[in-house]
Chain length 217, copies 2
Amino acid sequence: MTPEEISAHQARYEGEVARQWAQGPSDGAHDLGHLRRVWRAANLIAMDEENVDNRVLLAACFFHDLVNVPKDSVLRRSASRLSAEAACTFLREDGFDPTKVHLVAHAIEAHSFSAGIAAETIEAKILQDADRLEALGAIGIARMFHVAGSMGGGLFDPADPMAQHRPLDDRQFALDHIQTKLQHLAAKMHTATGRAMANERTDWMLSFRTRLLAEIK
Amino acid sequence: MTPEEISAHQARYEGEVARQWAQGPSDGAHDLGHLRRVWRAANLIAMDEENVDNRVLLAACFFHDLVNVPKDSVLRRSASRLSAEAACTFLREDGFDPTKVHLVAHAIEAHSFSAGIAAETIEAKILQDADRLEALGAIGIARMFHVAGSMGGGLFDPADPMAQHRPLDDRQFALDHIQTKLQHLAAKMHTATGRAMANERTDWMLSFRTRLLAEIK
């Protein structure tokens, strides 16, 4: 694709996302900025990979959160499947290569950890890596506490912020989320570039945690 | 006061705070941990100051958020006055020196920026400095995004995160709060120790902002 073609597809995809999001519940952590950052990171990662279909990757990046299900909803596990279905419906109407729509669907379905579907194509692996980067680094910290605020959870356990004498509980204490999930993400990255970026962001995130613990000790 | 006396007063004050908070709306950013950290920072600051009444400071620290008013309520500006009144009622019953209750009330009333009351006593100055430290550093960043999540605000403006081409709006974009308020707090500190701690935390906070902007650019 030429840069002009990418821009044209992106503008149309963003328009569709905005239209569908306007009909459902919104949350401050998912917005067009998130989609653009995932697409940018996916591009960086794709440069070091072979046989990447950029049209598939572009559509997967912009539609991976098309159906927004609140984190505390029982439908949460179905969000990526619902997003894949809604994306396919749009793409078929939009003239997307019908022999490749299923590749977009697979990347979207597999991107979410909670869906329990292994990423089997390079586009699915790149999308998952790029999306996971948003959970790490300074943006990951910002989103982690924002989600806690929106769901009524606390910052950390003032009596035991490191969870040395209690089970981890990241619903109740946002800071626990680093230990339950975020610090393990880098090891699950599929691509070399994604893993390098994840390692750097994980190191910074752990330094944030160390600093926070020192401030509140 | 001996350490044992401090512990005894603190336990009684915490019990009263927990009792009153259980009756009203709660938020994840204000909890007993916040009160204890403010008291700890106040103690650090007080070591370098003269003529500090520790009994007044202890009561002011633990009761400064006694009446919790949501940030988006029209009563928000009255929260510190309501907290001061509730604290006085309790302290008179609790055998607090009746000639010094007004000193606790002044420290509580003056601690909040939005109340518009100048801190005139050393205890009021120390409480305000100690409370402001909680808005800076890693704890300040955590609270800033948590508040945004709980109030339905966004993380930042994806189109213009540095607010170069729009007015600052920290209701809509949490990151703007650094520019509208947090980066100016250190210059408003009353005490030398408080200012030194605030400067260090402000420097770290600005490095967080620089990193976040680089990640999302």
